[in-house]
C-alpha cells in the first residue's frame, strides 16, 4: 500500500490559480489576491485541521501518560520499562513511523494521531515522573505527620507540587506536536503541512502559498508556546513567589 505522497502524485499538484494576476505569474512571495481568494478554501481549513490534530494528540497523550505515570510512580518496578518504551517510540523518525502504521490503520487521521500521540508520551511521561519525584521527603513526612492518607497526600501535596513540571511538559509536547504534525501531510491531505507540500510540488514552486502556510505553522507554534507559558503562570501562581 502506498500513500498519497508516497505514490508520488495524484494529488492536487497545481493550485487553482483562476485568472492569474501579475504577482502570481511572476511567482511573488506575497500575492494578496491569492491569499484573500484561498484563505477560506485552503489556509483556514488547514489551520483548523492542524489545531485539531494537535489538541487530540496532546489530549490522548496526556491521558495515557498520566495513567502510566501513576503506575510508574507508585510502583518503581514499572518505571524502567515505561521509560524505555516511550524512549524507543521517540527514537523512530516521524517520517518512518507514519508509514509503518499505514498497513495497520490505513491512510487515515487515526494513523497520524497514533504517531503524534506516541511522540507526546516521551515528553509527558518523563516530565510527570520527574515532577512527582521532585517533591522533597520532608514535605511528604510532614503530610504524613498531619495524618493524611496515601491518596490524600497524592492529591493535596504531590500533584500540586508537580503541577509546574507537568504543565511545562504539556507546553513542550504541544509545540513539538505542532511541528511533527506538519510531516503528516506526507500521508494524508491534512493540516498545515498539506499546503506546504502542495506549494513545493508545484512545478516552479509557488512561493506565496509556501510562505503563507509555512508562516502560519511557525506562528501557530509560537502562539501555542506563549499561551501555554501564560497558562502555566496563571495556573501555578505560587511558583512566582520564589
Amino acid at each position: 500500500m502506498t500513500g498519497w505522497r508516497v505514490a508520488g502524485g495524484g494529488g492536487p499538484v497545481i493550485p487553482n490559480y483562476g485568472k492569474p494576476s501579475a504577482c502570481i505569474k511572476h511567482n511573488g512571495w506575497f500575492c494578496t489576491d491569492w491569499l484573500t481568494k484561498h484563505w477560506g478554501d485552503t489556509l483556514q481549513p488547514a489551520l483548523v485541521q492542524h489545531i485539531q490534530l494537535t489538541l487530540i494528540a496532546v489530549g490522548i497523550g496526556f491521558a495515557i501518560s498520566f495513567a502510566l505515570a501513576l503506575v510508574g510512580f507508585r510502583w518503581r518496578l514499572f518505571d524502567g520499562p515505561f521509560g524505555g518504551f516511550t524512549d524507543l517510540l521517540y527514537a523512530i523518525p516521524s517520517l518512518a513511523l507514519f508509514q509503518l502504521l499505514v498497513p495497520l490503520t490505513g491512510l487515515t487521521v487515526t494513523t497520524v494521531e497514533i504517531a503524534l500521540v506516541s511522540y507526546t508520551l516521551f515528553i509527558l511521561y518523563r516530565t510527570m515522573i520527574a515532577g512527582l519525584r521532585s517533591v522533597p521527603a520532608e514535605v511528604l513526612e510532614s503530610a504524613r505527620g498531619m495524618g493524611l492518607t496515601r491518596l490524600q497526600t497524592f492529591f493535596r501535596v504531590e500533584l500540586p507540587l508537580a503541577a509546574p513540571a507537568i504543565l511545562a511538559g504539556v507546553r513542550i509536547a504541544t509545540v513539538a506536536t505542532i511541528s511533527i504534525a506538519t510531516v503528516a501531510a506526507f500521508l494524508i491531505q491534512d493540516g498545515l503541512g498539506a499546503p506546504i507540500f502542495d506549494a513545493i510540488e508545484t512545478p516552479d514552486l509557488f512561493k506565496t502559498e509556501l510562505l503563507a502556510a509555512g508562516g502560519l505553522a511557525i506562528l501557530l507554534a509560537l502562539t501555542a508556546d506563549v499561551l501555554l507559558a501564560f497558562a502555566q503562570r496563571r495556573l501555578t501562581p505560587w511558583t512566582r513567589l520564589r
Binding site: V6, W29, L95, A96, L104, V175, G193, A221
Partner: protein, 217 residues
C-alpha cells in the same frame, strides 16, 4: 504484516549495505556541517553573554523559539529562498541546532560559582582567561548536554530533508515505492542508531568532563 516488515527491514540491510552506508554518510555529513556551523555561531555568543551575566531574556526566548519552529515549514521556506539542496537543508538544521547550544552555553557559564570567578579575578586573570580557564571547564558538562540535545535533534530532523530531495537516509524513507516498507523501516533503524551513537559519544565526553570537575575532598 508488522512482523514481515521487520523481517524485510533486516533483509534490506545486507542487500543494500552500500546504499545504506552511502546515505548514512550523507546524513552524517549534513548533521555534522549543521552542528559545526551552529557551534561557531552559538557558542561564542552564549559563552560571552553568560560570562557578562547579560541577555537572560535572549537565552530564554531563543530556546523557546527553537522549540517552536516546525521543521517542515523551515525546510520548505528554505527551499523557496535557497532552492533544493545541501545548503537549504544545512541552513534549516543550523537554525534548529542553535537554540539548545546557545541556551546551554549561556546557563553553563552563567551558573558557575561567582566566588570562583571572583577568586580568579583577584589572582589577576583577564576576562578571557577567566572564561577559558575557570568558567568553561566548570560549565563543560552542561554545555555538552546542550550539544547532545542539538545532535539528536539535527540527526532526526535531517530525515525530513529527504522528502524534499535533500539526500541522506531520509531519501530512502521518503521513497517507499522504490525501497518498500522494509527499506523505510531499515533506514529508520539506522537513523535511530546514528542518533543514539552520537548521543552516547557526547555523553561519554560529558561524563569524563563532570568526573574531572568533581570536588576532590
Amino acid at each position: 504484516m508488522v512482523s514481515s516488515t521487520f523481517v524485510d527491514a533486516f533483509r534490506f540491510m545486507p542487500d543494500h549495505a552500500s546504499l545504506l552506508l552511502q546515505k548514512t554518510g550523507e546524513t552524517a555529513e549534513l548533521a555534522f556541517a549543521a552542528l559545526a556551523i551552529a557551534l561557531l555561531i552559538a557558542l561564542p555568543l552564549g559563552l560571552w553573554l553568560g560570562h557578562r551575566h547579560r541577555g537572560l531574556l535572549l537565552a530564554l526566548s531563543v530556546s523557546s523559539l527553537g522549540r517552536s519552529l516546525p521543521s517542515v515549514a523551515l525546510i520548505g521556506l528554505g527551499i523557496g529562498i535557497l532552492g533544493v539542496g545541501f545548503w537549504n537543508n544545512t541552513v534549516a538544521l543550523v537554525v534548529l541546532a542553535i537554540p539548545p547550544i546557545l541556551t546551554n552555553a549561556y546557563f553553563a557559564v552563567e551558573g558557575v560559582d561567582r566566588d570562583a570567578v571572583e577568586a580568579a579575578r583577584g589572582m589577576g586573570l583577564t576576562e578571557m582567561q577567566i572564561l577559558a580557564r575557570v568558567e568553561l571547564p566548570l560549565g563543560l558538562p552542561l554545555l555538552l548536554a546542550g550539544l547532545r540535545i542539538a545532535a539528536v535533534f539535527v540527526i532526526a530532523t535531517a530525515t525530513i530533508a529527504g522528502i524534499f530531495g535533500g539526500g541522506g537516509l531520509g531519501d530512502i524513507m521518503a521513497r517507499q515505492v522504490t525501497y518498500g516498507l522494509g527499506g523505510v523501516f531499515a533506514a529508520a533503524l539506522w537513523v535511530a542508531a546514528l542518533a543514539l551513537l552520537a548521543a552516547a559519544a557526547i555523553g561519554l565526553v560529558q561524563r569524563a568532563a563532570s568526573r574531572r570537575m568533581a570536588p576532590r575532598t
